[in-house]
């Protein structure tokens, strides 16, 4: 027996009993005229359907699909990573996120050299722009019940006031410069150096006068606070900071009134109408108060300071005297 005969799956050997048996399965021939029959069938054959646009089995289509999925995945991951870095989530879980400047310094390799330059720039920037110091909040923690603590609080407040005063002076310079540029661009006559010096002096005097009045009021207030501390009273933060906030609010209102004054009557009416009711009311009260002060100084005794209705108040009639209302800082040179 051959090995193939032991394997049932081995090829069928020619001449074997199985091969002889299989050879007996003979297929009949096709009938005559088969070709004519097929050709006749082609005439009645409906047109084949068009080929599908996407076969789905070609390498190109599959490659594009794969590439698109990878691209979508990369973009999605980048978006999530960016969002996580932006919201600080990565730092919260202990993954440091370097800033762009650090990354750039690591690429360019000039990190050590840039640090002194940055420090020098920071030092140089302090006297130029005192605005950050001006906006620094005055923090007083715990009750103030000793003259030393109160003195320290006043000192810190004075620092802030000094910064704000410097900031106003810079703003005034910027506005004067801008106005001169505007007039030069528009072909309008510019003030002579003498006129400009005169205007600046007038504005400076107004500022000093206003700050003098304010300082008097503040000093009186401080004297009162000192007495309260010496009598053993503990002052809270609000007791000290409230006058500062009032001053801030007053400054903001003055600036707002000045902006309104510069508008046309229609614009001013629309701007006032758009203000929230509470703010509009506060603004009207401030204007009336200011107007009453001005009238009290200019008009003869006995004239009512609030004869004009509040609705018409800021519209055009509010032409404050810069030297009296304190808005002179915003008054550009004419």
């Amino acid at each position: 027996m051959s090995p193939a005969e032991h394997d049932d799956g081995a090829p069928i050997a020619p001449g074997s009993p199985l091969a002889r048996a299989l050879d007996g399965f003979v297929a009949p021939d096709l009938p005559a005229g088969f070709a004519d029959k097929v050709l006749a069938a082609t005439a009645t054959r409906p047109a084949p359907l068009p080929e599908l646009r996407r076969t789905g089995s070609t390498g190109t289509v599959r490659g594009w699909r794969l590439g698109r999925r990878i691209a979508i995945g990369v973009v999605g991951f980048s978006a999530l990573a960016t969002a996580a870095a932006a919201t600080g989530l990565l730092e919260r879980v202990g993954l440091p996120v370097p800033s762009a400047s650090k990354v750039w310094a690591s690429i360019t390799g000039d990190e050590p050299a840039s640090k002194p330059a940055e420090a020098a720039a920071a030092v140089a920037a302090v006297p130029v722009d005192p605005a950050p110091a001006a906006f620094a909040p005055v923090r007083i923690e715990g009750p103030i019940d000793t003259p030393e603590e109160l003195g320290e609080a006043f000192r810190r407040i004075d620092e802030v006031r000094k910064g704000r005063s410097e900031m106003r002076r810079q703003l005034l310079d910027q506005r004067i410069t801008r106005e001169k540029e505007r007039r030069a661009a528009a072909g309008l006559p510019l003030p002579t150096p003498e006129e400009e010096a005169r205007i600046r002096q007038r504005l400076e005097e107004a500022r000093l006068r206003r700050e003098g009045v304010l300082s008097e009021r503040i000093e009186a207030r401080r004297e009162e606070l000192r007495e309260r501390v010496e009598s053993g009273e503990a002052l809270t933060r609000e007791d000290i900071v409230r006058p500062i906030r009032e001053e801030q609010r007053s400054l903001q209102q003055r600036q707002q009134l000045e902006r309104l004054r510069r508008m046309s009557p229609e614009q001013r009416r629309e701007a006032v109408r758009r203000l929230p009711p509470e703010e509009r009311r506060a603004l009207m009260e401030a204007w009336q108060q200011r107007r009453a002060q001005r009238l009290g100084r200019e008009a003869p005794a006995g004239t009512s300071p609030v004869e004009t209705g509040p609705q018409s108040a800021p519209e055009g009639t509010a032409e404050p005297d810069p030297s009296r209302t304190g808005t002179a800082e915003a008054e550009p040179p004419r």
Partner: protein, 193 residues
């Protein structure tokens, strides 16, 4: 074994141009072999003729696409084998018909070799049509196709695998099982006689 025809691409181009004479040439060249395959698969001459006709008509329908993918005078055109394409279509049509008939009759054809009692009973029933024919028709349809293509049509395993849309390893495994089934059935037939 049929030798590859060098002008199959040109024939496809003529078929795409709706040249009836080209279809007549295709039938003259391939219909005989296709009929043998179909008949040994389904065991019925009329059904085999229907299958061959359907395969030729499908070639007629697909000729424009074949001609487009295998232009004459190009390597792709030289690779076109209409005989292989037609044998694949005939094999699939035959298997589809066998499966459809099985669904209608509810008969189940086992994948493995028939057990002796079942083989015996079938052989007894089909002895009128010839013991040899029954041997082949008792095989499951895919095993039957493997035997028909490799033994009767003498196709190499690779071409037979292509005709059945299988990879070569899977086809060789199927062919191995088909031969084993055939031998077992043949042995059972001899014992019954």
């Amino acid at each position: 074994m049929a030798a590859p025809m060098a002008d199959d691409a040109a024939l496809a181009a003529r078929l795409a141009a709706r040249d009836a004479q080209a279809l007549r040439e295709v039938i003259a060249r391939h219909a005989g072999a296709l009929n043998r395959i179909a008949y040994r698969m389904v065991g019925d001459a009329h059904e085999a003729e229907d299958i061959v006709q359907e395969a030729c008509l499908r070639l007629w329908d697909h000729a424009p696409r074949l001609a487009q993918r295998h232009p004459a005078g190009t390597p792709a055109g030289a690779a076109l084998r209409l005989s292989g394409w037609l044998k694949r279509v005939v094999t699939n049509l035959a298997i589809d018909r066998l499966r459809a008939g099985r669904r209608i009759s509810g008969e189940e054809v086992p994948e493995r070799a028939d057990e002796a009692p079942l083989a015996d009973s079938r052989i007894e029933v089909e002895q009128r049509d010839g013991a040899t024919r029954a041997l082949v028709l008792a095989l499951p349809e895919r095993q039957r196709a493997a035997i028909v293509l490799t033994y009767y049509e003498e196709l190499p395993n690779a071409e037979a695998a292509e005709a059945m849309d299988m990879n070569i390893k899977a086809f060789e495994s199927l062919l191995h099982r088909a031969r084993a089934s055939l031998r077992q059935a043949f042995a059972a037939q001899g014992e019954a006689q």
